[in-house]
Symmetry: C2
Subunit: 324 residues, 2 copies
């Protein structure tokens, strides 16, 4: 990397956080910008909770619980234990340390600060040197309609129903009135390249794309946008990505992902396990690059990050933009 133009990573939660661990090893902090989904955000017990932002910060700082894979190391559960005693809502587990983050965020937001500002404080406190931006400072809420006609918030779906219910429709409440957080559009426009992390296309990346201006900004940079397929060998490593793609009428495969991102990404990085599907990807006008995408440890994340930074981009094939 000789340029000092930004490397922008569009992020959901865990998969994106693992990729960022690798990115921080190969990209200077000043160059790296994470743009994180806020469609999972919610107000619960009066507190503003931003699950994907916190997953990114806690994971990249090495403080995420290794045992649980979410929340913090050294966590205690005294507050939730009390909520449970009262018969209150305790299905969404909030650890005591984690609550400190939500208390701080809520307090700062109520004092009139923007989520992007407060997120900056939180990321710096955890020692992150790169920029972590919410996709928007405005309320954005992913809502999933089940085949039974219930409309669920993301966490009701993901945690409350253990994502074990068929979904017929997803919408992003508030998206139309939202604007990208300060810095997001500039980052995309000036990016050396934009990476779409191996997050859930339907519920982690699509909410970001639903914010007016972001999809168009990515289309303008399409040839410099490199997506990583979260689907490997027809299934998601974690979570309901494969299931949701199918339920929403796509193929749960790297080809389905290529089609999903076709308008914004010139390149899709697929796992070696899917190398036989490369032609299906190129068929929809997306360059296919094969790599080991399963980030079993930080070294694997680093190798994937290095690949993402070095795959040739700017190829005019199917691109609307000029090479950078």
């Amino acid at each position: 990397m000789t340029s000092d133009r930004p490397i922008v990573v569009l992020c959901g939660g865990v998969g994106a956080a693992r990729l960022l661990i690798g990115m921080t090893r190969v990209v200077a902090d000043e160059q790296l910008i994470a743009v994180v989904n806020t469609g999972d955000d919610m107000v619960m017990h009066g507190l503003h909770i931003s699950p994907d932002l916190d997953t990114v910060v806690y994971t990249v700082s090495g403080q995420v619980s290794k045992e649980r894979g979410w929340g913090l190391e050294g966590e205690t559960w005294q507050a939730m234990e009390m909520v449970g005693r009262y018969g209150g809502q305790d299905w969404f587990a909030l650890g005591d340390r984690d609550l400190g983050t939500h208390l701080y965020r809520t307090d700062q937001l109520q004092q009139g600060r923007a989520l992007s500002d407060v997120t900056g404080d939180i990321a710096r406190t955890w020692g992150l040197g790169f920029r972590v931006l919410p996709a928007t400072d405005n309320p954005l809420r992913t809502k999933l309609t089940t085949v039974d006609g219930d409309e669920l918030t993301f966490q009701e779906y993901f945690v409350g129903r253990s994502h074990d219910v068929a979904v017929s429709r997803i919408r992003f409440e508030g998206a139309r009135a939202a604007t990208p957080a300060p810095g997001v559009l500039d980052a995309i426009a000036n990016a050396e390249r934009v990476i779409v992390a191996p997050s859930n296309p339907a519920v982690s990346i699509d909410p970001i794309l639903a914010i007016p201006g972001i999809r168009d900004a990515l289309k303008d940079r399409r040839s410099s946008v490199v997506a990583v397929s979260p689907i490997v060998a027809g299934d998601a490593l974690k979570g309901p990505a494969a299931r949701l793609l199918r339920e929403l009428g796509s193929e749960a495969s790297v080809a389905g992902v290529a089609e999903w991102y076709q308008s914004i990404a010139g390149t899709l990085v697929i796992d070696s396990a899917d190398r036989d599907r490369a032609a299906d990807i190129e068929a929809v006008g997306v360059k296919a690059v094969t790599a080991d995408t399963i980030m079993v440890d930080p070294a694997a994340s680093e190798r994937l990050a290095q690949t993402l930074l070095t795959v040739p981009v700017g190829d005019p094939m199917n691109s609307t933009d000029e090479p950078g």
Copy 2:
């Protein structure tokens, strides 16, 4: 006590809670009703906090920290430690277990329930058999103007400034629009007797009296209202009661307290240490009764409670009501 009419106790925090411990030993749960100050309530970090209600519940249930005198036994401070790390507001210490109460209360209020309903849940969860009612379900905020012209909330004054600043004026924001919580006026009207706990007259009891209807209801029952002086030998056992009485132009003495409550209480129970001031109390038309009012242990609380239940009331002297 042969009647089964209510015994109503107007309450602030610690002093009232200690008295209630005694009351529960001599009054049937069905008969006892605590009406608790909510002027100290606040929304902090997005959470609805009711310090006096919680002090009453935690203390009477025996779960208050013996070491600190406030908050819960077995408390941890993980959330606040995090808030502090972020550089957030951590001057008002909220323990992790205590946070569970605020999370539950806030959630239930946001679901549209009344504070009085939610308080009932909380008190029952802690094993309290008697009724604990907030004075009002509406927002009520005690605001103190310092001699420097700053206006402080109660907790900013009490905790933030360690009540070490001269006050020129106290007002109760929201009082005019507030209504007594369901059950409060009936309880007073039907009470066998009403006890005013040895709480701070200016900032614990006055907010209750500022809610339209409550002062008049007490005036109607004046001869059955027995107040306990929080001032003993010219000083408060705890907190800024003496100082505030002086700053607001009263005498910091049992005589000052008698004058303060003259319109609502026919009887004032004073500590044996103040027996020489009885005549000053009777001079403002209030019966003086001497007792040991310092509740060093539950047995002392019980003796005081017994006294409060047995001092003759209904004496028409200076009373506007008929004997019960």
